[in-house]
């Protein structure tokens, strides 16, 4: 290496040290990491999480921040990959960020939550619904969304009481979230005496479902529950209608996304989806909804308000407990209740919400939804 390039290199190293040093010392802010899929096949859900969290940060800062400090949102992308989630969690630990709004997918939340618990970082997920996440005996892990053992029975009960299918098939994507909720639905319907004729898993990223569809068509299946996300279900719906297999489909909130209509087109008409109640229609949230709409954002996505609430709970707790120590804050959150856009929330000992309601919606080809009941 000659002198010139060595000089350049040392200058560059110096600049990096200066820049990163600047971030660490100059900022007197409370940092919250917002972790979800910013890229990848389910990035649409990440969008909902990000706009909710950013709105909360903005509004809290506009009111003067917390104890005179501004909140700072640090967006991070885990692509909903468990491996990437662990890498991000380590980055958060290294960056000494103490609060996390995330992760989004159950599969990536679970491994990350272990690190947060060990390192004493406060984590509130606005979207991961797999029950196992809060069954690890952790103190630092919360969620502002219901769980699959609430959502599954809601779907299962609807199938048993309203749909009364002659032949039910349950399909899932073999992921923690999809298979987990599919099993909950299976348990509920079996308890009521309906035995699914099929309970099978497809691959994440699979594009051809024709063999499975032919099989369901031959079995005479008239109702399909799908546990998983929208890219696979979208193709499944579209190929089903093409083959002339016209059973009704139902899925969890992971499929309730505008993209399902972009992929499935007219085949998405009539799809049933269990989603958190649409908080954006609650009159108490009118001002907040207006703030979203003024920015051209859509507040009706299922994870927008839970994500907003997650940030708000962290902020309220810091203000209420007058400390930034995550461990003390976790204890405070366990003991108190909070007024948020998703209602008055209080937590169980395991970090789950005491109450959370899932509602069944009927999806339409133009990507709108109407509540059923």
């Amino acid at each position: 290496m000659n002198t010139f390039s060595r000089n350049i290199l040392s200058a560059a190293v110096g600049a990096i040290v200066l820049v990163s040093g600047g971030v660490v010392y100059a900022a007197d802010t409370v940092k919250i990491a917002i972790v979800g899929p910013i890229t990848g096949p389910v990035a649409q859900y990440g969008d909902m999480q990000m706009i909710g969290a950013q709105m909360a940060v903005e509004q809290i800062n506009a009111k003067g921040g917390i104890n005179g400090k501004k909140l700072e949102a640090v967006l991070m992308d885990d692509v909903c990959e468990p491996k990437q989630a662990v890498a991000i969690a380590n980055q958060i630990i290294n960056d000494k960020i103490k609060f996390v709004d995330g992760h989004l997918c159950s599969g990536s939340t679970q491994p990350a939550s272990k690190l947060y618990e060990e390192e004493g970082i406060l984590m509130i997920t606005p979207a991961a619904t797999n029950p196992a996440i809060t069954q690890q005996g952790y103190q630092m892990v919360f969620r502002t969304i219901g769980t699959d053992d609430q959502q599954g029975p809601t779907a299962g009960k609807y199938i048993v009481e309203k749909v009364k299918p002659k032949k039910l098939a349950i399909i899932h994507d073999k992921q923690q979230y999809g298979e987990g909720i599919a099993k909950e639905v299976k348990k509920t319907v079996e308890a009521a005496g309906i035995k699914p004729v099929l309970f099978e898993g497809v691959n994440k990223g699979q594009t051809d479902f024709s063999a499975l569809i032919t099989k369901m068509k031959k079995e005479g299946v008239d109702f399909v529950y799908y546990g998983g996300y929208h890219p696979e279900l979208g193709l499944l719906l579209r190929q089903s209608r093409e083959q002339g297999f016209d059973a009704k489909y139902m899925g969890p909130e992971g499929v309730g996304n505008k993209d399902i209509s972009a992929i499935a087109g007219p085949a998405s008409e009539g799809l049933l989806v269990t989603l958190p109640a649409d908080f954006s229609t609650n009159p108490a949230n009118a001002d907040l909804v207006k703030a979203f709409k003024d920015k051209g954002q859509d507040p009706s996505g299922p994870f927008v308000m839970p994500s907003y609430s997650a940030v708000q709970i962290i902020a309220d707790a810091i203000q209420g407990a007058k400390t930034e120590d995550p461990v003390k804050l976790a204890a405070y959150i366990h003991k108190n209740s909070f007024e948020t856009p998703i209602g008055k929330v209080a937590f169980k000992d395991n970090g789950d919400l005491k109450e959370f309601e899932f509602v069944i919606f009927e999806w339409h080809a133009d990507a709108t939804k109407t509540p059923v009941k």
Binding site: P41, G201, N203, D208, S210, A211
Partner: protein, 309 residues
Amino acid sequence: MSGSPILEFIQQTINGLTLGSIYALIAIGYTMVYGIIGMINFAHGEIYMIGAYVGLLVITALGLFGVDSISLILLITLAISILVTGSYGWVVERLAYRPLRGSPRLVPLISAIGVSIFLQNYVQLGQGARDVSMQPVLAGGWRFGPEDGFQIYLSYMQVLIAVITVVSMTVLTLFISRSRMGRACRACSQDRTMANLLGIDTNRVIALTFVLGAALAAVAGVLVSMYYGLVNPFIGFIAGLKAFTAAVLGGIGSIPGAMLGGVILGLAESFASAYLRTEYKDVVAFVLLIGVLLVRPTGLLGRPDVEKV
């Protein structure tokens, strides 16, 4: 309504053949490159992914211009996609493999993996990491069977896929067996050094191989974006893996072998889903591969050739 087992079997065969055609088209690219330079081009799945993106973008653009004749859409899309994807194939060979010619076999392999990662991220940056979807251009099909029972459904798109696959394969086979360039290809495949001594420009032949493989991958890509209507920067990985399996199953280096391997793989997946469980379709496909390789280590139609491993 419970369907007739025979009709179901026919439907599953149709499903499997459609899937198999796509695998076969991609598998050709692996097998041709291997046949000539004895290297596995792990970036081929990404080349196919680029073909699918170009296909989807061109079809969407044509839709905006109001072109609605299906044959016109197909022709223009195929032409543009083959052209663009073929040039990617050429550039990749030129930049990532040619400078490494003559180096130990592992080196171009690593280079190929590098190209694969590069292309994935390149498309991700250029087109976004999200799914891009499109509504079917060619919808509809024929139904056979009893009005009130299980009906076989054969979509126009499935027929189109089969026809285009057969035509592409025939053209390729004719090209390899009849044309001057094809003869040069076969000569290189037998003995590259000797072919070089006899005045064949082997670099040109190798470049041509990459372009031809990429062109067929482009055809597969266009068909996939028309049939499934969903692409993202990651589809190349799984498709590449399956096609590579098909190529090995049929005997890597053999063009008819790649076609056969693709079709067998497609049928195996389809029947495994149908008569076992959907979870087992990949298991069955790979057990089949291992079984065939145990009995015939060179694949179904591969030449016994111990030297190239």
